[in-house]
């Protein structure tokens, strides 16, 4: 990897994230850790979406569903007394993967706008399953009274420790995605985005690779769901609302589709923007809506596209 100014910016960004707990202590603002933990978890979700959206060109409008699936897996297990994180988290990933396999197999048969709509419809379906989970609080959600426990290896309730766990997961995820998109598999996904018909014509059955990417992305987002539920000690259908899937797409595009660090930066900028605007005016969406339009029109490659230094990839 060449060292470009862009890479330096991202390096500084990751370094800044690594410094958050220290900074919070210096500033006596413990809330910074809480705030950024949530941001990092949502960044994990956005980075996972980027694999299929940015690299694979699959506009999934139902990605937030995995936040719910992962979260409910942790929540329901905790409700029944299973708080072992080594059981909870892998299961959260596994169930997300299973769901992605089934739904992906149906959705990926469709193209373009049909794909957008059918992923949205499945997300609605699961959302209503969540609302109907009366035994687990239904619309009220489920409070998780005991946090996941990783055999005492990590102090999950200690906020900086948990922050570093989330941060490490984000770093590992970015590394894995980096390897994936540059591997043979990743090239197939990108080729399919670029020209799916051509990819098939040279003998690549793209469907199964796209499905695999869909499952990988879903699994990572399911992990993010488990993290989010742990961080919040709570899970409810609200995280699966379709506007949350919209937020994830916005994060990815804002940061830069198909760029490695872009979606993470995008998530954090998006959430900070939300905080700033909403602290300025109650009517912040009046400003934010047109900003989205302008983003689409004038900065299609997002923040990543604004940074200097070489091509993506």
């Amino acid at each position: 990897m060449r060292v470009t100014p862009r890479l330096v910016v991202y390096g500084l960004f990751m370094l800044a994230l690594a410094m958050v707990p220290t900074l919070a202590q210096v500033l006596a603002e413990p809330f910074l850790v809480t705030l950024f933990t949530r941001m990092i978890i949502l960044a994990v979700a956005a980075v996972s979406l980027n694999l299929i959206l940015g690299y694979g060109g699959m506009v999934s409008f139902g990605h937030a569903v995995y936040l719910g699936i992962g979260g409910y897996t942790v929540g329901i297990l905790a409700e029944h007394g299973t708080t072992n994180g080594f059981v909870q988290w892998p299961l959260a990933i596994g169930i997300s993967a299973l769901y992605a396999t089934v739904v992906g197999a149906i959705c990926l048969r469709t193209r373009g706008v049909y794909f957008i709509m059918i992923t949205l419809a499945f997300a609605q379906l699961v959302y209503f399953v969540g609302v109907g989970l009366y035994a687990y609080g239904g619309d009220d959600g489920l409070t998780i009274y005991t946090r996941s426990d990783f055999a005492g290896l990590i102090r999950m309730s200690h906020k900086p420790s948990f922050y570093y766990l989330c941060f490490a997961i984000l770093c590992i995820e970015i590394l894995i995605i980096h390897r994936i998109v540059h591997s043979r598999f990743g090239l197939v996904i990108r080729a399919s985005k670029s020209n799916d018909r051509r990819a098939n014509a040279i003998g690549i059955p793209t469907f199964r690779y796209r499905l695999a990417a869909f499952v990988i992305a879903g699994s990572f987002c399911g992990l993010a769901g488990a993290m989010l539920a742990t961080q919040a000690d709570y899970i409810s259908p609200a995280v699966m609302h379709w506007t949350r899937s919209g937020d994830l797409i916005v994060s990815v595009v804002l940061g830069g589709m198909g760029s490695l660090f872009g979606p993470a930066v995008g998530t954090i900028v998006f959430l900070l923007l939300e905080e700033v605007l909403s602290s300025l005016t109650e009517y912040w969406q009046l400003v934010f809506g047109p900003m989205l339009l302008l983003l689409v029109l004038f900065a299609k490659r997002g923040i990543d596209g604004l940074l200097p230094g070489g091509d993506r990839g």
């Binding site: 990743g186 985005k193 020209n195 040279i202 059955p205």
Partner: protein, 252 residues
């Protein structure tokens, strides 16, 4: 005659009331260049679509080297040795020229469920890709984004991609469409070099190229094959002259 590399029997495809492919029995002899000609709307592209697997015929069968591939999906046919180029340029515009070919090489190398190793610098992919680029005369274009190549270079690139899959039969859908004279000559040269090594089914409007390259020619009119034969036979065929060549020759 030995078994044809490609054989269709009774192929029929209708679109609504229109019969686009009407009882086509086509045999492409192994090692030959077989041209498919016919006026616009004769159903050439529909036929190519069925042969490559993008369009499902209503009835009839398609065999590749004796093997029934009528229901096989596009990628499967490619694996079995049937490669194609498209009438309208179809490449990976976001990739470099080398990567375009390397993708096809990768396809030949087996499944792509390899998630970790960096693929772009993998000599198993780039080695054959560079060789093929050289074969079609694009050796100095490897690092350019494919989208930036000229039209003629795109067609050459497509040939390289098709060759990368190690085909037994090439389906070339108007490889010279929209080319200048010089580019056409280069393409004919490229195809001449391939002749004998790989069987080719060629759809082309450029009659000079067709008669220069083809061993046999099938003439398609309104979905029906009205004649098949050597270039000389076709030239002499009255029906063909009436339906098709006649007009051409009057003009020329």
């Amino acid at each position: 005659m030995a078994e044809p590399i490609l054989a269709t029997r009774g192929l029929i495809k209708r679109f609504g009331g229109l019969v686009a492919t009407d009882q086509i029995d086509l045999d492409v002899a192994a090692g030959s260049v077989h041209a498919l000609i016919g006026p616009n709307g004769a159903g050439k592209t529909t036929l190519i679509g069925q042969l490559s697997g993008e369009i499902r015929p209503d009835s009839g069968s398609i065999r590749l080297e004796g093997r029934d591939i009528t229901a096989a999906p596009v990628h499967k046919r490619c694996r079995l040795g049937l490669a194609r180029s498209f009438q309208i340029t179809s490449i990976f515009p976001d990739f470099t020229a080398r990567e375009n070919v390397a993708m096809a090489v990768q396809s030949r190398l087996g499944h792509s469920f390899r998630f970790w190793r960096r693929a772009k610098s993998d000599p198993a992919r780039t080695g054959p890709a560079d060789a093929l680029l050289a074969e079609v005369g694009l050796e100095d274009r490897g690092n350019m984004p494919a989208a930036a190549l000229s039209h003629g270079e795109h067609r050459q690139l497509e040939i390289a991609m098709a060759l990368a899959t190690a085909p037994r039969l090439l389906l070339l859908d108007e490889p010279m469409a929209g080319m200048g004279v010089e580019e056409s000559v280069r393409m004919v040269e490229t195809l001449q070099r391939l002749k004998g090594r790989i069987s080719i089914l060629l759809v082309e409007h450029d009659m000079d190229a067709v008669f220069a390259l083809a061993d046999r020619i099938t003439v398609l009119v309104y979905g029906r094959a009205i004649a098949t034969g050597t270039p000389a036979e076709i030239r002499a065929n009255q029906e063909v002259r009436a339906a098709y060549l006649g007009a051409d020759e009057e003009e020329g």
